[in-house]
Amino acid sequence: MREIKPEQLEDMARGAGILGTGGGGDPYVGKLLAQQAMREHGPVTIVDINEVPADATVVAISGMGAPTVSLEKLPAGTEEVTALRALEKTLNRRATHLMPIEVGGLNSMVPFIAAAQTGLPLVDGDAMGRAFPEAQMVLPALIGVTVAPMAVADDKGNTLVLQTVSNLWTERLARTACVEMGCSVSCADTVMRGDQLAESLVPATLTLAENLGRAVREARTAHTDPVEAAADMLNGVRLLTGKVVDVQRRTSGGFARGDARLEGIGTDTNRTLELSFQNEHLLARRDGEIIATTPDLICVLDTDTGEPVTTENMRYGLRVTVLGVPCDPRWLTPGGIELAGPRYFGYETDHVSLPT
């Protein structure tokens, strides 16, 4: 158990951006919101998974929508607690703990807003260990935990509680509602008992994000290699250091898809790397050969600063280093691969282990 103060979110947001693997939204606004809430209501307590009582009621708090919209239509600030209260009314009991659904990107910061406003402790762990685009792509689904009942609240005060027959229906209905509500909403869902957490959350990921962000910042201050610092912290493999020479985008199936081509520089001269992304980076081919796939993390970092580069900001001429980072091993079980393996995203390949 430890207390998190507003200034600690700087490092955590930087690390969460890296763990977002190009998606999950820029944590900047989320960080400002969380800091504002913490200044108003006091610091947030985060607890290890093994500190949560077996009979605890744990609720995931997250945002859903388009990151571009969330950078323009900032929240009212009431959405998270409104969603939580609506969910509690349906459950007929109060939440005792909150948790992040994903550690990657904006959603690492959103639960801090609700935790500060309610005073509830926040679990140091998350349901992905990275960022994924759809509601059903969570490890608790592998042990039968459902996303619904799910409460959704918008900036205007509208709330909605979904009771569904499957996680896919939850995703589908929530996504439709989200668009109608203005493409930026907050959700309370994935209700778990304390004794289910160890089996279905990736532990200590908030701490990992903070340590990762700190390592990158300190490397920068010390004029050592921030990308190396990130790779060390994550047991990551450097796939290529190069320049973005082409980016192609298209929209299909409601999601922004695209490919980026990188040409190697320095020791990687004459090598190429192709990245395929759909909000997140999902597949990497080096010199034509697939060397990394979802659910492993493909992290694109600015070579000079170690700052994460989002898929929306992939641009011609950026100098980046691509890291492959092993995912939580539970994602590599048949159930995990079915939820978030390359074939789910339409790539005709099995998962490929990262090069060593």
Partner: protein, 526 residues
């Protein structure tokens, strides 16, 4: 005939162009009082060429006054920020992410930032979030008036999609606060991303008084120099704005310096795709020209600790310039520099400091000052130090390039005598005529632009129609800004579908530029 002027912190450079020909150039010290330096520069190019003031058809000025005012936190007016969007965005009030020092600099006499959140604003698809409340805006106006604030920034959620609420709010505030009030509207200033767009709008509002003064000083300079031709200011993207626009949009000048250097380098060398190295007294700035325009940096630009989102050229700076201090033993050059004191401190000027300029003279690359002061320098050591400079500049150019193919490098700026005809890995290095005043040339040759950047709904199968609409709109903007109709071309198209958002919502950005219509200007003057 056009005069281009670059007013920098140290020097004011001016050039006189007749069509494609450079008739005269001058480099003179910038004066603390604006008018004197500009008058002196204009007079010098006119006298140098024997051209009468009446033959000048336009004057273009690039200036660092406004960005410097923000960096120094000085000469900023008390400013109010009015945001429309409640209940959305209530969680983060305007100026929430500003440095305390600047927030204080913009606050009225009572010391509290004048920030207001009101109803209004739109969703991403143009639906209203909540109706605008005229009564709420009138109350806000009364408070602004009571606090003695005379410049107001108005931002509305998704105003790049629908500017209606900003325009209506501006009408109401103008009616309440009188014709003297300055209003800056966010849809005029920036792009999608509320906080950075709002920040840029607030900065603009805070500079409005200064903009009126500076534009007035420039106009007076022209009058004193006997010129009746119209005045234009350079913008961040290398295009021009007229005086009326400049008074209202001072923030659009912020990155015009590097842009003008690069555009000038393109013009002088005749190249449209190349690397540009602009070497001044303290730094070498490296950028890339793509299709005749500077490649722009991705993401947001932080200026004096304020996050804004206008596009600025992608430039890497290296601490090497003509005034850089040199240690011949190691050898190292820079980042410390004698800066503007070069003509007192450098050995060739009889000073006591070994500078990079002394190396260039010793190696016979430049004839500056008195070479007898450096006769004692050991030739091999001079060559080694110059090789070190060449390597570091080449490394920076290599980091900026985007393909392994051969690219020419154009060296401009007063300090470009530091580099020779080649750099390691770059066999083609050019230093065109008039290299020292490339920035003033860039100002003189600037074109007029128009831009569209907003979220469009693209129904299935209608991509081409929507793109065509966006292009037509950008061209219309360019013509409205003074471009000759048949000269306007589209120079950039960018389409980014919004992530995690079904339904074809796509952010489209189109930029068009054309030649300034001088005939139309002359007709309107006649």
């Amino acid at each position: 005939m056009r005069i281009g002027i670059d007013v920098g912190g140290t020097n004011t450079d001016a050039v006189l162009l007749d069509g494609d020909r450079v008739l005269a150039t001058v480099k003179s010290p910038t004066t603390p009082e604006v008018t004197g330096g500009v008058v002196a520069a204009i007079s010098a190019v006119l006298t140098g060429s024997g051209v009468p003031p009446g033959a000048v058809t336009a004057v273009m000025i690039g200036t660092t006054h406004f960005v410097n005012a923000l960096v120094e936190g000085a000469r900023l007016a008390p400013t109010a920020a009015v945001r429309l969007g409640l209940p959305a965005a209530a969680s983060l009030p305007p100026m929430v992410d500003w440095p305390a020092r600047l927030r204080a600099a913009l606050s009225p006499a009572d010391g509290e930032p004048a920030v207001y959140q009101c109803h209004g604003g739109h969703e991403y698809d143009g639906r209203p979030i909540s109706p605008l409340d005229p009564e709420e805006l009138r109350r806000t106006a009364a408070d602004i008036a009571a606090r003695g604030v005379r410049s107001v920034a108005i931002s509305s959620i998704f105003s790049p999609v629908s500017a209606d609420d900003e325009l209506r709010a501006a009408e109401i505030l103008a009616a309440e606060l009188g014709p003297e009030i300055h209003l800056s509207l966010s849809h005029d200033i920036g792009r999608v991303g509320l906080l950075p767009r709002e920040n840029a709008t607030i900065v603009n509002a805070a500079l409005r008084d200064l903009a009126v003064q500076i534009v007035e000083a420039f106009t007076r300079s022209l009058t004193e120099a006997g010129i009746t031709a119209p005045l234009f200011l350079s913008q961040n993207d290398g295009t021009l704005m007229d005086v009326e626009h400049a008074r209202r949009h001072p923030v659009a000048t912020f990155a015009s310096g590097p842009t003008n250097s690069m555009r000038g380098a393109a013009y002088l060398s005749g190249l449209t795709d190349c690397a540009v190295v602009d070497i001044g007294g303290t730094t070498a700035d490296v950028g890339m020209l793509v299709g005749g325009f500077p490649r722009e940096a991705s993401g947001e630009a932080e200026l004096a600790g304020v996050r804004t989102n206008f596009r600025i050229p992608d430039v890497l700076s290296l601490g090497i310039g003509g005034g850089s201090l040199v240690d011949l033993i190691t050898p190292t050059v820079g980042p410390r520099s004698v800066g503007y004191q070069l003509t007192e401190k450098a050995l060739v000027f009889g000073g006591d400091t070994l500078t990079a300029t002394d190396l260039a003279v010793a190696a016979g690359r430049a004839e500056i000052g008195d070479p007898s002061h450096i006769a004692h320098l050991e030739r091999t050591k001079v060559e080694a130090a110059l090789a070190h400079i060449a390597e570091r500049i080449a490394e920076t150019v290599d980091r900026m390039r985007t393909s392994p193919g051969p690219i020419p490098v154009v060296a401009v700026g007063g300090g470009s005598v530091l580099v020779g005809d080649t750099l390691p890995g770059f066999p083609d290095v050019r230093r065109p005529d008039h290299y020292a005043v490339a920035n003033a040339i860039g100002a003189a040759i600037a074109q007029v632009g128009g831009e569209v950047d907003r979220v469009f709904q693209i129904p299935e199968g209608h991509r081409d129609t929507v793109l065509a609409e966006a292009k037509a709109e950008a061209i219309a903007h360019a013509e409205k800004a003074g471009a000759r109709p048949n000269s306007v071309t589209i120079v950039d198209v960018e389409e980014v579908p919004l992530a995690y958002l079904p339904g074809g919502a796509t952010r489209i950005r189109v930029k068009a530029v054309g030649d300034l219509d001088l005939t139309r200007l002359e007709e309107s003057r006649a």
